[in-house]
Symmetry: C2
Subunit: 278 residues, 2 copies
């Protein structure tokens, strides 16, 4: 069955970070409707095992498909890294993760063929960015590091802060000897502290923002498959979360760069088992 071009784009993340991808989508494709699901009751995914992340991701995609979306963006680096390849085999709906667009942009950006990758523990341990980069360009050399403090620092709102700067130095100074000329921000939270990251690694290192690259990829997929919305009015966004954490709206609006009108809590189990629960 062919999807309706006026159907929404589904965007999934374990939490709030995927709203940076939504922000990029809204800039690039302003007339598309967006349905966002944040699995905030079970976040973070970054410290969990691949099996657990795969199980969670399956449930999240099932929810978005019930919302009749025309494609799904997995705006979560951990899920894109450790679970998406398996789901690409199972699913018929167009699916795009944040990993491949980021890897592709990094492979194009580097002249020295030396690339840095930072992300959550699970993303880095999975080696998924390495695999993707090597497939694109076997000669690429990669330096990678998990930066588990960046997410809570961003969520504290300490973006221009000395503590964030020192933490970034701790994580990223070891990259100096490696002579990379591109660094993949392999977590949707990281673009919010890109100024500090850039100050630490220097302006010769191009920062690759997966959110930005993913929005470009979504546009390509929609156009290729004739699924661009023909609406001439601005699209809206509906936000579902599995739990409404403290400060969700406040922090979310920082990510989204605009007010969020409505956030709805959803009980995934109830929806998937009984067909109710929103």
């Amino acid at each position: 069955m062919k999807s309706n071009p006026r159907a929404a784009i589904g965007v999934f993340d374990s939490g709030i970070g995927g709203l940076t991808v939504v922000h990029e989508l809204m800039m690039r494709l302003p007339n598309e409707e967006i349905v966002y699901l944040g699995d905030t009751a079970r976040l973070p995914y970054g410290t969990k095992s691949p099996e657990t992340v795969l199980r969670f991701l399956r449930e999240n995609l099932a929810f978005l498909k019930r919302k009749n979306v025309k494609m799904i963006v997995v705006a979560c680096n951990t899920a894109s890294s450790v679970a998406l390849p398996k789901l690409l085999e199972e699913e018929k709906i167009p699916l795009v993760g944040v990993l491949l667009p980021g890897a592709r942009a990094a492979a194009q950006a580097t002249r020295t063929k030396r690339v840095g990758v930072i992300g959550t523990t699970a993303t880095i341990r999975s080696g998924a960015y390495e695999d993707a980069l090597w497939k694109l360009e076997p000669a690429i050399k990669i330096w990678s590091r998990a930066c588990p403090l960046f997410v809570p620092l961003v969520e504290e709102g300490w973006h221009g802060d000395e503590i964030t700067y020192m933490t970034a130095k701790r994580y990223l100074d070891p990259m100096a000897d490696f002579d990379a000329d591109a660094l993949v921000l392999g977590c949707t939270h990281y673009p919010l502290i890109r100024t500090i990251i850039s100050r630490v690694v220097g302006d010769k290192v191009k920062l690759v923002d997966s959110a930005h690259e993913t929005a470009a990829e979504v546009q390509r997929i929609l156009e290729k498959s004739g699924l661009r919305s023909d609406h001439d009015r601005p699209g809206g966004i509906t936000v579902y979360v599995t739990d409404i954490p403290y400060l969700f709206k406040e922090v979310g609006e920082r990510f989204l760069g605009r007010p969020m009108e409505r956030v709805e809590r959803v009980d995934l189990e109830a929806v998937l088992v009984n067909g109710s629960g929103t």
Copy 2:
């Protein structure tokens, strides 16, 4: 039905932090068996809503009861704060949280009747320590602050670190004007950075370690109810987790202060619905 004194003590936490309580229990009650459950697939609880934490806690206690434990320690400040009062009404098994023992020790420790409380966002927002302290001593004045970076800093192992010191100063310097003489470490991770916390607040402020106080309370309950084990050999510990995250054993042994022989992953849903899954 009267419990068997040789049955294990069940200890629950959302993750790894409750092992500091286990450490204290093993020091104080070396011949008791311990069954530990860490709900690592769904941690952290500290940023989730009270309703979600209550649902999770019910499931966790159901699992421990199936292991025939004689009592249950809720070694999670968030769950103790926002969900335990409700469960005390429902449950027949002796239940003790980390909150009341900590509050009681603080009320006894303070001379100035001015107490500081730090913990996760959910613990602090719940106001549960305030309520408990005021019930014990209505004249007490309380300064409180959520310190969300402390948990990831401890899990990075940056215990004696400059970044941790600066973060502690950021969180705790505002307490200086308040003139507290006791500070409740309202999160099981915090005792691992007590040296830094003490350096920041000064040695006139007594640090109240809920883990330590809770172990004392467990001993009182067991003795009062005739449930102390009469085994004369050292008890063991069985650790169940709902997910085995990276570094669980490594970080866990730091909390426990000794090697962990075996960590078993358990699927709560499977156990509770079908009676299998371990």
